[in-house]
Assembly symmetry: C2
Homo-oligomer: 297 residues x 2
DNA sequence: CCAAGTCGGTGCGCTGGCGTACACACCCGG
DNA sequence: CCGGGTGTGTACGCCAGCGCACCGACTTGG
């Protein structure tokens, strides 16, 4: 069960631009007061990070041994734009939103990092400053590595660098995709896409997300989300109640979503998919109907 | 004088999605018929590529000696999404648009590559497939390198890799920026930004761009561009006549543009600007007060 | 010089999302 | 059990940009 949902994190006091629309509201503020980072004895599903799993045994075990297992809490801001990157995170069952800074306007999610990725990739590029806000979107555990250790491992372990480079490529695609998606696709479709992406990374059919939070992610009004979500619910694709959204009909949701979702997945699978990097010319086309999440369906 | 403007490149035959809006129209099709790549004796301004200029003398000269100087022609498509990257380009006075593929919808520019950058960065990440369309937007010269040679140089010359990594970081930012910009800013502001970015890369106050072409870049209707451009013209910031746009009042244009322009530039300068990479530990921490970040608040 | 093509300007009705405001349902703590 | 906070539903006027259509000015080629 989700014992983690923060009781009531303190309100954000960034009144940077008062004319701004849709500043992140109450609940989704700074780090939660009490349980910021806890080493949990993970008694749940054995979810692993796909980037790390792909490493050769020796490397993987060494890297894992240097990681700290921490709990990330919904609403926590791991990085603000411009912060120095002091740690990187490999989500397990947690996941993290990448948001463009609300410079004079609302924020907007441009990427989502789950157990298929890592937060802090700029270090791989030799830059120690973050360019986006990293907001914990799904409570759960992650593996954390200090920047310096991470860089040691980057030098030491070519496979790690190889995978991360490809991951960066995937991220860039996700960004570009987001641009077009945000521009051209109607809200319902974008919402459906978002729910699917979250569904994949939450490793559960239900997760906690309010309309208000969604409006912040999608860069629209809360009311807009309510309308769009209402449509999806009336179609029987999802159901929700006071912030708890349940995915009822995943194939239906995929039909309702814009093509961007599939394209994201396709690129990821092609770059970092199941078949290990031995054969570089893999080109997977996922036979299983749609599952992309769990290690096994 | 611009002797380069293609007489009448053949029409695009990619009717991939017929329902699509704003497919690239007539003039801006595939490669121009006749003068695709010509080694020009560059008798004009001595413009250099900033990425290459930043290399140590020996490396720079070696790399330059392995480059071919080619002329890129307005409308030429260097890469289509999914193409294998067989060459990379370092623009000199030419410049290249990065477009998201119009999958069921119109295309949209997400990045612009001039003499400050390179086309084909995915190779740096170890991926030999392009993810976006690369369309020559400004006729001019560029330095071209075969993919294999480029990769040799990458291995050989750490400085090259260093700079390109940082350039990738800049590009990622440009993408993310574009997402927010496209979502939140009104067309006039976006147009002004676009003109400024182009102005920078064209190294001239006048360049050839029709409203129709702009509509393709900005992902809007041609009529929308006409309106927006009309406003800028009425304000005396630009003037245009049958595709030839002249920047009259650059400061005014900067005022009319959204903040995204400045932010793009700021990041570039910070990452690859004049101050050479000697001091890696710059760690700008901008004394902004409202930063809510950090492990402690 | 004319014909055809290109480029830009204008109008009209439409719609998706905006800003605002209010109302109700649920939850939790006192 | 009550009151306040939170999450959701609904309504109304508004506007930027859309799709479409048409026209005139300019350019180029025969």
């Amino acid at each position: 069960m989700f014992a983690s949902r923060p009781t009531s994190p303190r309100r954000v006091d960034t009144v940077v631009n008062s004319q701004a629309v849709r500043q992140l509201p109450r609940d989704h503020g700074r780090a939660a007061p009490a349980p910021t980072e806890i080493c949990v004895p993970h008694g749940k599903r054995p979810i692993s990070n796909r980037l790390l799993s792909a490493l050769p045994r020796r490397d993987r075990e060494r890297v894992l041994s240097r990681c700290a297992e921490v709990e990330l809490v919904f609403g926590q801001v791991l990085y603000e734009q411009g912060d120095a990157v002091t740690q990187v995170y490999f989500p397990l069952d947690s996941f993290i939103s990448l948001l463009t800074p609300g410079e004079g306007h609302a924020s907007l999610e441009v990427g989502l990092v789950g157990n298929e990725g890592m937060l802090g990739v700029s270090l791989v590029l030799g830059v120690d400053a973050t360019s986006m806000r990293g907001l914990v979107q799904g409570t759960g555990t992650a593996l954390r590595l200090d920047a310096q250790i991470f860089q040691e491992e980057l030098e030491r372990c070519g496979q790690l660098r190889w995978h991360l480079n490809r991951y960066i490529y995937v991220l860039m695609n996700q960004f570009a995709q987001s641009t077009a998606c945000t521009r051209f696709h109607v809200l319902v479709a974008r919402l459906a896409r978002w729910l699917l992406m979250t569904h994949d990374r939450a490793h559960a059919d239900q997760f906690h997300v309010t309309h208000e939070f969604l409006s912040y992610m999608l860069g629209v009004r809360r009311v807009g989300v309510t309308n769009a979500a209402g449509m999806l619910q009336r179609q029987g694709l999802i159901s929700y109640r006071r912030g708890d959204i349940t995915v009822l009909d995943r194939p239906g949701l995929e039909a309702a979503a814009c093509s961007c979702y599939r394209e994201d997945i396709t690129i990821y699978e092609r770059m970092l998919g199941p078949p290990p990097p031995a054969s570089l010319a893999t080109r997977r086309q996922l036979p299983r109907e749609l599952r992309v999440s769990g290690e096994r369906a």
